[in-house]
């Protein structure tokens, strides 16, 4: 890989300053994605700003919710007793990703920002509008088995690979960032974006902005939740399709609240709003779940190698809801 400068600031403003000033500067957290991309020649930073010494590691109960520092590792979050008890969906989603070794290194901020696993993005000899804007999309007429069925554009049909983000999207998390212009909050809904005309942009972070934390609202979905991930092998593979399902049930199996989001289907974690609307106020039945799954599929579009996702996705929604509601 290309030689680069390396620095390891200990205070957040210094890190933001450098990143904001220098175009070729990248934050380095766990490095499990960035270093791979450097080795493959997909990115070539001039400077790495190692943020691991910044005080962003804590996981704290704040108000009714939870604040997860950007440097808390995936393992720390997934195994945290408070997360296990109050946000089990998040724990399940994180543990469905990567391998224990990777989760020990991977951080919350880095996970939110991991790049797509599209083969054409990863191979610098191939065309890719995300890597080199204007070079074309290799996937759209290529091997697009892993690719999007929702919200893609002519320019890009890549998917966001994160499992954690799917749960965060379902749980209405908020991303806290700090940048040259100060601090702000970005709702998960607005954090990742669809490719549209600018597939090179994965998210709405502004230049120099650092993720400092992820905040979760007061826990609601503590019991009837499930994260279902369908993949080509049992572990250590990205999702063909994944579903985060959370139900808030009353005593007579009525659905007080429901959250549904999918991974492996779009350029961002895909929230199933219409299906949620349909289920709210209904009772737990297989038929209701089946109908919700059909509703969720409206607007889906397959490509030559991923047509199967049009069948797999509703099956996965149904199965995730059944498991969350404990019906077999």
């Amino acid at each position: 890989m290309k030689p680069f400068q390396y620095m390891r600031p200990t205070d957040t403003p210094a890190a933001i300053r450098v990143k904001g000033k220098e175009a070729g500067a990248y934050f380095l957290a766990g490095g499990t994605n960035l270093v791979d991309l450097m080795k493959m020649g997909v990115v070539a930073p001039e400077k790495l700003v190692d943020i691991n010494r910044l005080p962003l590691r804590g996981i704290e109960v704040v108000g009714g919710g939870l604040r997860i520092g950007a440097l808390a590792t995936n393992s720390e979050v997934a195994d945290h007793p408070y997360v296990l008890e109050h946000y089990p969906l998040l724990s399940m989603a994180i543990n469905a990703g990567a391998s224990p070794q990777l989760r020990n290194m991977a951080t919350t901020g880095g996970n939110l920002l991991q790049r797509t696993r599209c083969s054409y993005f990863f191979d610098p000899t191939m065309p890719c509008n995300k890597r080199v804007p204007g070079s074309g999309c290799g996937a759209i007429d290529g091997i697009n088995r892993m690719h999007a069925i929702f919200g893609a554009s002519e320019k890009c049909i890549a998917v966001n690979p994160s499992d954690m983000s799917v749960a965060l999207r379902a749980l209405d998390a908020v991303v806290r960032v700090s940048g040259p212009a100060g601090e702000r909050s970005i709702a998960m809904e607005d954090f990742h974006r669809l490719p549209g005309e600018q597939p090179e942009l994965d998210n709405t972070l502004q230049k120099g902005e650092l993720i400092t934390a992820v905040e979760l609202p007061a826990p609601v979905f503590t019991k009837n939740v499930h994260y279902l991930k369908i993949r080509d092998r049992t572990s250590y593979a990205f999702a063909l399709v994944s579903v985060a399902a959370a139900l808030d049930l009353d005593g007579s199996r009525g659905i007080r609240g429901v959250r549904l989001a999918m991974g492996g289907v779009a350029h961002k974690p895909w929230r199933l709003g219409a299906a949620e609307e349909f289920l709210k106020g209904k009772t737990v039945t297989e038929d209701n779940f089946r109908q919700a799954a059909q509703i969720a599929m409206q607007g889906a579009k397959g490509y030559s190698y991923n047509q199967f996702k049009l069948r797999m996705a509703p099956n996965a929604i149904l199965q995730a809801l059944k498991t969350a509601a404990a019906i077999v």
């Binding site: 890989m1 369908i230 593979a237 069948r311």
Partner: protein, 708 residues
């Protein structure tokens, strides 16, 4: 002699070294002055290199040399008129590119990192040409391989299956599958003077590697020493000497320093072979009560344009079942891809997937139990060569396996059984692989303190060769295993064949056997006593004031191979769970029952079986190297996207040995297990999936999308 030790369950003699990190693999020799070579791959699929700009690379600090076709001085073995020309790709010898990823330069630098960076700065310009990597599009261009071995086969009437009352005719697809051993391919080459070469390399055959280096550089074989003491898996990928190995030695001679070339995981997808993409058609015809009337097996398999690769994918159909009429056809389809290589169960693994799947399809068409169908067509002698088997206990394999897996719980009606949410199915798949024995030598030396040293230039790519040989010697000599050292992986040792084709115990074990028997004679002769009873080596040496006795024995391949057909046989039984909504498959149990003659070392043999079964699970469920034919490049050429099975994919695997000696193959009565541990696994699983779901998957691997 007391109780026979052969067949014992001894732990690996090198197990401690391996788990404590003390086993030194080929890439770990830190020779003084070592330089590092990194290959630069072509980014086009076919054409000619018109120029290579190495200026930026050469300016990089730490770069010693950049070798390209523009400065390559040639090698004696690369000349077309060489007495022993090097086969296959002759790296840097000309400017043509025949596949994407073909190395076009080698950067040599002071460190791997510096060489890697400099390699990224090498710029080539090409005259590109149209290329073909699309198998389906080019299948009709398949040709019968050169030489008589692969000509069409006919017994009785061709395509007789078509006239039978019950017919199955289907096509089966095996995608390209990568060996992907854990250890990366690596070579360190070091010269003393102009004509003496020492090589540390990942190799399944130090003697054949020695020969290739000697041919390539035009130096005497005895001037080449090849070391490969430990090998971190190979599965066939190190059966031959690859271009990067020769390039390492060329570079080392050029820069006058030892040079190490390590392939990256990505480069291992293009430079060290793979199980080739193959499409097979099987036609089976039977009477209503299940007697096979005809078997037709046609196979079309991918190869490279610059070298022809062949394997025995159709052979099992000729001898595994008794059918009067049988015809086979085998063609290779040259494409602009890297050359394939034998991969565990070469040919037969691919072939048996097709044959055993078709047989299962026939069993449902006949409404007949798949085991009954196999018994009905049991070949009592080899119908291909019309010879008796040297030994065959496949019937016993069926019986034991059926009992162990609980075959009686299988429902003949697909999709009719559930455990919780999961559909349940049972399947059987069988395999056979030639039992070979080649010429091998072993040297034995018994010291005054009673310790024993045995040397043979064989390899141990993982099966536990040293362990098996130690057990044999311990048994025959009556010396405890702890006093015996078996040395391998050095071309200076007495000649042994390459470790492949499941033949090491048969070949090298026979040489060790003969050496032990001969040295017993020699000891016995000292005192004119009989070699039958126990011998006190220490006392005999002392009495005759000898420091040691030693000898070298040579063992030949079996004469009886002319009179008998020699095969190992296996029957694999699978119990699977299939999730009806998600399409996820879990191989809950695999029972492998094997007739491999006498089992010399039970523990390592069982490990072999389990390893083969895991490889089979990869082949059937997860592994597929996928090409984008627009670019001629793999889209999943890395460990994240190419899925070898992980622990979570593996449930219960049981290995059962018939453990009856073969009387004709060798003095030990062993056949071989490395290949049959995998051959037949794939069909056992797809057949079980059909039993569970009623869905017949004929294109591997069976990923979840194919079942929903």
């Amino acid at each position: 002699m007391n109780k026979s030790l052969i067949g014992d369950s001894m732990s690996r003699v090198d197990g401690r070294l391996k788990v404590t990190g003390q086993a030194k693999y080929s890439g770990e020799y830190k020779l003084p002055g070592l330089a590092y070579g990194v290959l630069v791959p072509a980014t086009i699929t076919k054409g000619t290199i018109t120029a290579i700009d190495v200026k930026a690379a050469k300016r990089t600090p730490g770069v010693i040399e950049v070798i390209t076709p523009f400065n390559f001085a040639g090698l004696p073995g690369f000349k077309p008129d060489a007495a022993q020309p090097v086969r296959g790709l002759k790296l840097f010898n000309d400017k043509s590119v025949s596949f994407n990823g073909q190395p076009i330069a080698l950067v040599v630098a002071e460190s791997f990192e510096k060489a890697t960076y400099a390699a990224s700065l090498v710029r080539a310009t090409y005259q590109e040409e149209a290329f073909e990597t699309d198998f389906h599009k080019n299948r009709e261009k398949g040709v019968t391989p050169q030489g008589g071995k692969y000509k069409d086969y006919l017994r009785g009437e061709a395509n007789a299956y078509k006239k039978a009352p019950v017919v199955v005719e289907q096509e089966y697809l095996q995608p390209s599958e990568m060996h992907n051993p854990m250890e990366l391919h690596v070579t360190i080459a070091s010269w003393e003077g102009e004509d003496k070469l020492t090589v540390y390399t990942k190799s399944q055959g130090v003697v054949s590697t020695q020969r290739t280096f000697s041919n390539a550089f035009g130096i005497k074989p005895e001037n080449v020493q090849v070391n490969s003491r430990f090998v971190g898996g190979a599965f066939g990928s190190s059966l031959r000497t690859w271009p990067h190995e020769i390039a390492a030695a060329y570079a080392a001679r050029l820069v006058r320093r030892p040079v190490k070339v390590t392939l990256t995981r990505e480069q291992m997808f293009t430079l060290v072979g793979y199980r080739p993409f193959t499409i097979q058609k099987i036609g089976l015809g039977a009477t209503a009560d299940g007697k096979l009337l005809g078997i037709t097996h046609e196979s079309y398999s991918q190869t490279a344009t610059y070298e022809e690769f062949t394997e025995n994918s159709v052979n099992c159909s000729r001898f595994l079942y008794d059918a009067a009429n049988c015809n086979t056809l085998y063609k290779v389809v040259p494409l602009h891809v890297g050359v394939p290589a034998p991969m565990r169960g070469p040919g037969e693994a691919t072939g048996s997937f097709a044959l055993e799947s078709a047989l299962d399809e026939l069993s449902y068409a006949l409404k007949m139990d798949p085991i009954q169908l196999r018994l009905k067509n049991y070949a009592e002698r080899d119908p291909e060569r019309n010879l008796p088997w040297s030994s065959k206990y496949l019937r016993e394999c069926y019986e034991l396996g059926a009992e162990r897996i609980g075959w009686e719980n299988r429902s003949p009606r697909p999709g009719s059984q559930k455990e919780g949410e999961w559909l349940v199915g049972y399947g059987i798949g069988c395999g056979a692989f030639g039992a070979y024995r080649g010429r091998a030598l072993a040297k034995i030396k018994i010291m005054a303190d009673g310790s024993v040293n045995i040397q043979s230039a064989t390899s141990d790519i993982g099966p536990g060769t040293g362990t098996a040989m130690t057990l044999i010697a311990s048994d025959l000599l009556g010396v405890p295993a702890g006093k015996i050292t078996f040395e391998l992986g050095n071309s200076a040792f007495p000649m042994a064949p390459t470790q492949g084709g499941s033949s090491t115990v048969s070949s090298v074990g026979s040489a060790v056997h003969d050496a032990c028997m001969a040295i017993r004679q020699k000891f016995a002769a000292l005192d004119g006593q009989s070699a039958e009873g126990p011998l006190d080596y220490v006392a005999l040496l002392q009495k005759h004031s000898l420091p040691y006795l030693e000898l070298t024995e040579e063992s030949q391949s079996s004469e009886q191979a002319k009179n008998y057909s020699m095969y190992s046989f296996s029957a694999h039984f699978a119990k699977v769970h299939v999730h009806p909504l998600t399409g996820v498959v879990k191989v809950m149990r695999l029972v492998a029952v094997v007739d491999a003659g006498r089992i010399v070392s039970h523990k390592t043999a069982a490990s072999q079986m389990i390893g083969g079964a895991v490889g089979g699970i990869g082949m059937v469920l997860t592994e597929e190297a996928i090409f984008d034919d627009k670019y001629g490049r793999y889209v999943n050429g890395n460990f994240a996207d190419y899925h070898v099975p992980v622990n979570a994919d593996i449930h219960q695997i049981e290995a059962i040995f018939i453990d009856k000696p073969d009387r004709y193959i060798n003095p030990l009565g062993t056949k071989g297990i490395g290949e049959i541990s995998l051959i037949g696994v794939a069909a056992s699983v797809t057949n079980a999936i059909y039993n569970a779901t009623g869905k017949r998957v004929r294109e591997l691997p069976v990923t979840p999308d194919k079942l929903i």
